[in-house]
Symmetry: C2
Subunit: 181 residues, 2 copies
């Protein structure tokens, strides 16, 4: 389906509450373990979501509106989540994600974007020309990419424990897919 701004916002505003309900107060065994060398824990993923909420999505929306294709987006700092996580608990990161997302969606609604605005174009440093509509759809799909990753990280912790069931559990067949924003 086409990106429909209202549908995008409805999904974006639910993600923090969904992750909060799923993850708050879970023991470290679920949230601090990863899938092996050079992979992220659930804690790291939430730090990444906080980091992009602070630095990326709305900044890019405003850059398109202000500069169009004449000024590229900044690169995403893919290790920005490390600083974002330092000295924080998972619960604190979940709170920050909820607060930043709510502020960003307030700002987005305040822009009163119309259909013509959604066709405006900007420049991604790696992907080239993208529309504002692409950017907003990618924001929502990026939430889903990391929900997909979180479910896989958590299932991985029980890879041995499920015994013969492993071949029936789709998430355990998922090798992961490099993801960026």
């Amino acid at each position: 389906m086409e990106q429909e701004l209202q549908n995008t916002v409805l999904l974006l505003e639910r993600t923090p509450a969904g992750l909060n309900a799923l993850l708050r107060d879970l023991p470290d065994a679920w949230t601090l373990r990863d899938e092996g060398e050079n992979t992220w824990s659930v804690f790291g993923v939430i730090g990444h979501l906080v980091h992009l909420e602070r630095t990326d999505w709305m900044t890019r929306v405003k850059r398109i509106l202000e500069f169009g294709e004449t000024r590229s987006f900044e690169q995403v700092d893919r290790s920005g989540h490390v600083r974002e996580c330092e000295g924080k608990s998972l619960n604190r990161l979940l709170d920050e994600f909820a607060r930043l997302r709510a502020e960003n969606l307030d700002e987005l609604r305040g822009l009163n974007l119309g259909r013509k605005d959604l066709e405006r174009t900007g420049r991604h440093p790696a992907l080239g020309v993208v529309t504002l509509s692409n950017l907003l759809a990618a924001w929502a799909a990026h939430d889903m990419t990391h929900l997909h990753q979180i479910s896989r990280i958590m299932a991985h912790q029980y890879r041995e424990a499920v015994g013969p069931w492993s071949k029936f559990l789709g998430v355990l067949q998922c090798g992961g897919h490099s993801a960026s924003a």
Copy 2:
């Protein structure tokens, strides 16, 4: 990690609230569309979770405790979700999932399973001998399999809308993995 009953229960009890926060009142564009022929919508997935909560997991726990390996589990009816969904809204299915899950976990806690109990064995009609510990770990990992599927179904709806971002969004590279219980 080994299946730890307490950690398993902590995850199992959060799944309904997580799905509820993510999905309740979302428009049909997110919840009724699928990934193409012979694939499920989010609505169908929740129906499947309700169906297994009603017929499968705790029934199998009790069968192991009562019959050990002498009496196989029933086959899962993989189209049981169709009847489960008939005439119901997504919100009603989410309510049923929350209620049935809470009842099942109450019953599970009431069994006061000890380490020796978790080593008891039963017989799966396709997988052969499994332990009670395997079964409980699979219950939790099965939640994650379907969370993984839900995130993929929803991202799929924006496959075109994200434009050039599709190659950076891991969930859009996931071809899916047949999953069962």
